[in-house]
């Protein structure tokens, strides 16, 4: 489960990914690609509009072993902060 104790704004972001307008599996695929060059501990910020993303990103973090620092929805856009752990 994401750790919602840390508000998104307080986390420094190392890379950003725009997945607005994309449907599954593209947000997850592009996220995996964007995480590849990052180092352990670096944070990726992802914006999505696929409503499935709210269920998919906690699952992605769990399956990959990364940490979902925050998940929120603002004006129909889902915003995720994902910290690479492996």
């Amino acid at each position: 489960m994401p750790d919602f104790t840390s508000p998104a704004a307080t986390h420094p972001v190392d890379a950003e990914l725009d997945c607005k307008g994309l449907l599954c599996p593209l947000p997850v695929y592009k996220t995996a690609r964007a995480l590849t060059p990052l180092r352990r501990g670096q944070v990726l910020r992802i914006e999505c509009t696929d409503p499935g993303s709210l269920a998919d990103f906690p699952a992605l973090a769990r399956q990959r072993g990364d940490t979902l620092l925050s998940a929120e929805e603002r004006n129909g856009v889902q915003i995720f902060l994902l910290r690479k752990e492996a």
């Binding site: 599996p25 997850v28 990959r64």
Partner: protein, 158 residues
Amino acid sequence: MAKAAPRRLALVASQGTLDRAYPPLILAAAAASLGWEVGIFFTFYGLDILHKKRHKKLKVAALANPAMPVPVPSLVGVLPGMTAAATAMMKRWMKRSKLPDVPQFLDLARESGVRLFACSTTMGVMGVHASDLIPEADVAGATAFLDFAADADVSLFV
């Protein structure tokens, strides 16, 4: 937490219509993105998905398909052009949704290390040669796929 050994997904793709080609390709792309090992066994009409020429021309069946994009009475489904119309409609939808087409999904699968097993029995039955298939296809019998699937955490037949 990530495990030492990655999870494994084993899929059987047995259908060669456009609408049945997408689900295994989408599942494979998603699973590979999670760091899973993925293998797809393309068998019988599903082999068309690996066929260099045919996979660009997969169709949506208008006949006997109650889930048509626009409901078509069964008798109308037999009229010439209905399959072409249904296929064009689905292709339009996929494009509008910015989803890759079938050849693009296969590229994506290759980049992600997805193993593409081409059923050798189907090739024999249908007269398909390895040179007819995309180069990433591994010609294999059911036994080789089962050997891969034996260690799968998730196995699905599409």
